[in-house]
Symmetry: C2
Subunit: 214 residues, 2 copies
């Protein structure tokens, strides 16, 4: 049995919920309230010194960093695969996943937005401009890569759901929440819509989690 320490709105948590759903691995949901700072409390820090969600307990170890954890699931529970087979295709898929995880998401997570407002006295308006800037630019660059790569089908890689899709979908939820422009990334949005037809994504969305608050 798996235990997932996570938060409804956290993108990286959303990724883990989708991955576990796709692999058909049931998990106990433990909500960590990021707004109350539960991730920095002593008992949680003992589990994850990085003070971040998600954290997956698979019964033998505590796994941190969503993409590292998804690679672990892929190695331990290979079916259905979340990566293609050929090395070049795997590099393409991992590249798209990392373009979200390294170029967009880190600039827009809660602790960074909080730091801008609380420690740098940035106005709410400027904070939102910051948010939209990185999302819109980052997604445009991903769109360019998807079009140039010529490998998309229903999903990022042909008709196979991969870790790239798992990263794209939560990022679009965030983009919509902050009213980002999305009409410049039609390929990304097509993939997003196709993913949301799948129960593994739909059941992982923030609004369906027990700790979701408007």
């Amino acid at each position: 049995m798996f235990t997932l320490y996570n938060a409804a709105r956290s993108s990286a948590s959303f990724r883990m919920r989708v991955a576990l759903n796709l692999k058909g691995l049931p998990f106990e949901y433990v909500a960590i309230d990021l707004r109350k700072g539960v991730q920095s409390r002593e008992d949680y820090r003992r589990l994850n010194p990085q003070e971040l969600v998600p954290l997956l307990d698979d019964g033998t170890a505590h796994l941190t960093q969503s993409l590292a954890t998804i690679e672990y699931l892929e190695e331990r529970y290979p079916q259905p695969p979340l990566l293609p087979h050929a090395p070049l295709d795997r590099a393409y898929v991992r590249g798209v996943a990392l373009a979200v995880a390294c170029e967009i998401h880190p600039l827009n997570n809660l602790r960074v937005l909080r730091y801008l407002v609380r420690d740098m006295q940035v106005s709410d308006e400027k904070k939102n401009i910051w948010y939209r800037h990185w999302v819109e630019q980052g997604l445009a660059q991903i769109e360019g890569g998807l079009v140039a790569g010529g490998r998309t089908g229903r999903y990022t890689f042909a008709d196979q759901v991969t870790v790239a899709d798992i990263c794209i979908v939560p990022q679009i939820f965030n983009a919509q929440r902050f009213d980002c422009r999305l009409d410049h990334v039609p390929t990304v949005m097509r993939i997003f819509e196709n993913c949301m037809q799948l129960a593994a994504f739909e059941n992982a969305r923030p609004e369906k989690q027990p700790d979701f608050v408007e």
Copy 2:
């Protein structure tokens, strides 16, 4: 023959240089001047629509995102391995690599620092405080994970050089350049010093590259 489009000071480029050196794969060095915006020019964007370095041309494809490219090298050229063998150990190593690549580096790269100063009118002093905040906090969390994990030896994972070390070393170069505190992360610094004893790291350092400028 490999061609690496990269920049002396870019951390992600530094990672790629180390990985290629460790794998014993010679490469042609093509310098991309990020300060002059060469990464956004039409001819480079055709190679990499993400407008980022590094970009590796292995003769069959253009590979983007350093961690995806390193995984590709690992699959195509497995010796010497840059990941451990057991899934849990691999997850630990990838987790440390991603803690650098997703939690620290994205907040401190050139385009983000530029945006803070040019578009958000943040003072140079505040920009430096921002820089040090994320580096010092991020490294502290990694230190906590390394100590709690109990797997370090000469390097992050026992005495095997891995992708975690490849991510840590360039981040420490950046930290030193911006006068970040480092006395709170003795385990990270021990790993850094041990890595710098190796020619693969030493030869990849920014100062030794043809496009380095003080």
